[in-house]
């Protein structure tokens, strides 16, 4: 019988429920097809999702910490490239400096010409 005619669920607010406190059974007795229930407030629903959201973000954070320390930093430590790259850069700097001094030391270079103009002007 109850399966065929399920009770109608009447959802009331928290404040309204307070007014009806103690009368729920009476109402349900009087109206056979009514089931008085407390509504879930919006704040409560937001709080529920807040916890879920926090836990998902927390999992993500821990996963990132794990990847950073377990994979990335381990890789940097076990296969460092900085020393080799630094060496290449130092060599390139040395050759560039040599090239620059050769260019500047040339008689036709702008530096030489300006210097000679300056020094000749002093005579």
């Amino acid at each position: 019988m109850s399966d065929k005619n399920p009770k109608k669920k009447v959802i009331v607010s928290k404040s309204r429920l307070k007014d009806l406190e103690g009368f729920e059974d009476l109402i349900e007795e009087f109206y056979d097809d009514v089931d008085v229930r407390k509504s879930t407030s919006k704040d409560q629903r937001i709080n529920d999702f807040e916890t879920l959201n926090f836990l998902e973000n927390e999992n993500l954070r821990l996963e990132k910490v794990n990847i950073a320390f377990n994979n990335k930093i381990s890789n940097y430590i076990n296969h460092p490239q900085s020393d080799a790259l630094n060496e290449i850069q130092e060599k390139k700097i040395y050759h560039s400096e040599e090239e620059l001094f050769t260019l500047l030391g040339d008689d036709h270079s702008a530096l030489q010409q300006n210097l000679s103009r300056l020094l000749n002007g002093l005579k």
Binding site: D48, E58, N59, N66, F69, I77, L111
Partner: protein
């Protein structure tokens, strides 16, 4: 099973041995925690934080990973080991959640978080961070030399054009 949310810890004595015991009892490192150090001078605060950092080393727990330990003080703004916050309001909101009864799905996610935490706790943080700092120095020197090389190449180009 408890949610990993911020909780305040109270420390009465600040000698390293007693701190080790207090921090262990109050589960610092297993949960995000903070200590309020108001009404202390700069010297006192630094001394206390150094002792706390030493206690964490003895506990083989890092004050930053997996769960942070914050010192709330407005007299200093930086400590090399312990993260500092000016006030309780400035603590990260991420760890501030209402502590309600957990439901099935939330418990399942929390279980996963606990598994991850156990995995992360066993990592040698101190060793890896110190090695990482050495690598960072080398990367900085690489950055400087790359910058110098770019400057020299630019200069060579300009000299060539001016001929």
């Amino acid at each position: 099973m408890k949610l990993p949310i911020l909780k305040e810890i109270k420390l009465n004595t600040f000698t390293v041995n007693e701190l080790v015991e207090s921090l262990r009892l109050q589960e610092a490192g297993s949960f995000p925690t903070y200590i309020v150090l108001n009404s202390k001078t700069i010297g006192e605060t630094n001394e206390i934080l150094d002792s706390i950092a030493a206690a964490f080393v003895q506990l083989n727990t890092n004050p930053k990973f997996p769960y942070p330990f914050y010192a709330v003080t407005d007299v200093i703004s930086y400590h090399p080991s312990i993260p500092i916050c000016k006030s309780v309001k400035d603590l990260p909101r991420h760890f501030v959640v209402g502590n309600s009864r957990l439901k099935g799905r939330e418990l399942a996610i929390l279980n996963k978080a606990n598994l991850l935490k156990d995995k992360v706790v066993n990592l040698p943080f101190y060793e890896r961070i110190s090695k990482f700092h050495t690598l960072v120095k080398k990367q900085r020197s690489l950055y400087d030399s790359t910058k110098k090389l770019a400057y020299l190449e630019n200069l060579i180009d300009q000299v060539r054009k001016s001929r």
